[in-house]
């Protein structure tokens, strides 16, 4: 036991002291925080007041543009060349010109300094609305006020309510659950490979160094194997912890430094995005999330959000840790076995193929799983131990029956015990084999050997 502790501490300390570890650990939270902060800053900045001069030869839009605190409109008619010169030399930032034509929605925009994307999309959407009204009135003779009343009445909204085993009801947000599920699936996939890969390289390093012979004359191969796997697992957990704490610290820091900008964070952000996004589906999605944020209010966001999930945050984090750890343990033990059997990384790639295929397959399947989290595919993939970490994490936010979750966990643990037994046998033989290209058939022989 003492030996295993020594090995764990060496594996842990040499990795944690590495420059690459320190840099990655510090940079990721900064990137993370930047991802959250920068869009808000960009959205609030770059929106200065704009004076728009409208010249409409078709006389549809005159006096119809809606002003707001960032945009004001003036209207003139006459020779565009002259107006253009005067307006841009004067107080106006842009001149919007509708030439006389049958295509009454087309316009030119003149400017000295390029206006923001937002202005352009805002103008376009205003023009579309006005043109729509204009056509209703002039071509179809429809009364605008009546049309708007009818339109307001016909606003459907479907509330998603999930019923759990006990008959309790919960409003759910399928879209958000799906997205969160997919993100969780990808994240767990990434981390399993990142850290299990380190185990593989560690085993190969010891074998290529030939230090392994000295080591196993002092300790049992199983101690060396477990020490390495546990040491690297601790490196991973340390990194997680630092990332979470740092991201929170940075975000809180920024929030303190610029509280005003973050008060409007959710609102402004979605509005801006909506204006610039034309794709109707996207707008819908954003609409949903906007509705959600509006519904939440400001006080207890976390508590409120958790109301919308079939599973609590704590449960989610616990499940994430469980499946990350067991998934990592299973894959790292398998990788260690492979690493011990191979002489170099190229050889090992060939051997890891059959192991990593199931996980790769699951990643390809993440979308279908998220779309139908309780379908057959999702069910089976979340039961098979090689695929269950990713599949189960993808399903979790949408709610998984308790028995399925427990069964999946039990299978995972059983499989882990089997894999460690298997890996220990292969590892014991493999680390002393040199210069031999090993096949899976050969490895199976080692397992039965003795």
């Amino acid at each position: 036991m003492n030996n295993t502790l020594l090995i764990i501490s060496r594996e842990y300390l040499t990795r944690v002291k590495k420059k690459s570890f320190i840099i990655l650990t510090l940079v990721v939270p900064i990137l993370f925080a930047a991802l959250m902060v920068v869009p808000v800053l960009l959205a609030t900045k770059g929106r200065e007041h704009v004076n728009v001069m409208v010249v409409d030869d078709n006389e549809i839009y005159i006096n119809n543009f809606v002003e707001n605190d960032k945009t004001s409109f003036s209207y003139r008619s006459g020779d565009i060349e002259q107006i253009k010169k005067e307006a841009l030399a004067g107080d106006y930032d842009v001149v919007l010109y509708f030439p006389r034509s049958s295509q009454k929605v087309n316009a030119n925009m003149y400017y000295n300094e390029e206006p923001s994307m937002y202005l352009r999309s805002e103008l376009e959407s205003q023009i579309n609305n006005m043109f729509f009204d204009h056509v209703l009135q002039d071509t179809f003779n429809i009364d605008l006020d009546r049309y708007k009343t009818i339109k307001d009445l016909a606003r459907s909204q479907i509330t998603m309510i999930q019923i759990d085993e006990n008959g309790g009801e919960k409003e759910s947000m399928a879209e958000m659950n799906k997205t969160i599920g997919m993100i969780c699936g990808f994240v767990i996939y990434f981390f399993i490979f990142l850290f299990a890969g380190q185990v593989l390289r560690g085993v190969l390093e010891e074998k290529n160094n030939r230090i392994v012979e000295v080591l196993i004359s002092s300790v049992k191969p199983i101690e060396l194997l477990l020490g390495k796997i546990i040491g690297i697992a601790l490196v991973g957990l340390t990194q997680f912890l630092i990332w979470i704490v740092f991201t929170l610290v940075i975000l809180t820091g920024v929030q303190f430094a610029m509280p005003d900008k973050f008060m409007e964070m959710s609102g402004v952000n979605t509005e801006q995005v909506m204006e610039s996004v034309k794709d109707s589906q996207m707008v819908e999605a954003v609409n949903n999330s906007k509705l959600a944020t509006e519904a939440l209010g400001e006080e207890n966001i976390f508590a409120e959000i958790s109301n919308y999930f079939p599973i609590s945050f704590t449960e989610m984090i616990l499940c994430f840790l469980f499946f990350f750890l067991t998934g990592y343990l299973v894959y790292s033990a398998l990788f260690a076995a492979v690493g011990s059997a191979a002489d170099n990384e190229t050889d090992s790639n060939q051997l890891t193929m059959p192991i990593t295929m199931p996980l790769l397959l699951t990643i390809v399947m993440v979308m279908p799983i998220a779309d139908n989290p309780n379908g057959k595919l999702a069910f089976w993939l979340s039961m098979i131990p090689l695929t269950s970490p990713v599949a189960m994490l993808t399903r979790l936010p949408s709610g998984v029956p308790l028995w399925e979750l427990l069964l999946s966990m039990v299978l995972m643990v059983l499989f882990f015990i089997f894999v460690v037994w298997f890996a220990a046998k292969v590892y014991r033989t493999g680390i002393l084999m040199y210069g031999k290209k090993v096949s899976w058939k050969e490895i199976w022989k080692w397992v039965r050997y003795e």
Partner: protein, 310 residues
């Protein structure tokens, strides 16, 4: 008292026999040479002594009891393929390996200090292993092999890759350890070093033990009544009687050197009497076969008996 007794050990790998019913005993305090051509089974035997692999049948006794994990702290092992973590610092790595052998942190530090001062390498402590030359790494590896003061040292080709100065340094250290009572087993192809430091040897070929015993005694056993003599005289000896066969002659001014084999029916005294008539005998020695000759001769003989042509 034997520190190690190997009893009827057999080890088979999937397609070949590595050790076939090998038995041998190593007395406390001797330097024991484990010899044999490549692929003879030496490394397998060493791995069994280190408990890296287990024999298929047979037992190994350590101090009279079946060898167990507890004995690991009393064994030091220097494998043929040297290896260290390249990215670790010299001091950290030495501490790690010493602690794995059961030393406490404090003990490890003290003993490493002793060795680092002895080898005058204190300045390496904070260097990375990869910055050291190959010879320097060998020194470090030697220290990590002996730092826990093992009763039993297993060295696989300890002198390979060392320059003459470091070879000498390591040899001195080995003799010093022997004086302190350490039993040392050396596996090597370097016959010169075997003759210099080994007390006993064991020759393994094709998974079998073909020769074992005290080095001096073995040399006696394989001697072929060959004598080397130097004569101071005016002229060379024109002819030797039939019972003496001349193997080598060389002459300098008034100095004549002969290597003569005494055949059946002859004796060393007769040879001496015969040559005395031709001048003053300056030297007269029995020529014992070198370990190198014995090695080659025995291995070839064994292979011939098996009907194997190399």
């Amino acid at each position: 008292m034997n520190i190690i007794e190997v009893q009827n050990v057999t080890k088979k790998y999937s397609n070949h026999l590595a050790l076939d019913n090998i038995s041998l005993a190593i007395q406390k305090g001797v330097v024991y040479g484990l010899l044999g051509p490549n692929g003879a089974g030496k490394t397998t035997l060493i791995r069994i002594l280190n408990q890296i692999t287990a024999p298929d049948s047979g037992t190994v006794l350590f101090n009279g009891n079946p060898i167990s994990r507890r004995d690991i702290e009393k064994i030091g092992y220097l494998p043929e393929e040297r290896g260290l973590y390249k990215k670790m610092k010299v001091g950290e790595e030495a501490m790690y390996l010493a602690q794995l052998k059961g030393l406490s942190k404090q003990e490890a530090l003290e003993r490493l200090k002793y060795w680092f001062i002895k080898f005058e390498i204190q300045s390496w402590w904070n260097k990375k292993v990869e910055e050291l030359s190959k010879g320097m790494q060998q020194k470090l590896q030697f220290i990590t092999t002996v730092v826990h003061r093992p009763d039993f040292l297993i060295l696989d080709e300890p002198f390979s890759g060392l320059d003459p100065i470091n070879t000498n340094l390591i040899r001195q250290e080995l003799l010093e350890l022997k004086k302190q009572g350490t039993t040392i087993i050396i596996s090597t192809h370097n016959m010169a070093s075997v003759e210099e430091i080994c007390d006993e040897i064991c020759l393994i070929n094709k998974a079998h033990k073909i020769l074992e015993g005290n080095l001096a005694e073995i040399k006696q056993r394989f001697k072929e009544n060959v004598y080397s003599l130097t004569l101071n005289g005016e002229c060379a000896i024109p002819a030797f009687p039939d019972k003496f066969s001349v193997m080598e002659t060389s002459s300098a001014v008034n100095q004549h050197h002969y290597v003569v084999k005494v055949l059946d029916g002859g004796s060393a005294n007769q040879l001496l009497q015969f040559v005395m008539e031709y001048g003053n005998v300056m030297s007269f020695n029995e020529v014992l076969p070198s370990m190198n000759d014995i090695f080659i001769q025995q291995v070839e003989k064994y292979n011939e008996e098996l009907g194997i042509n190399n």
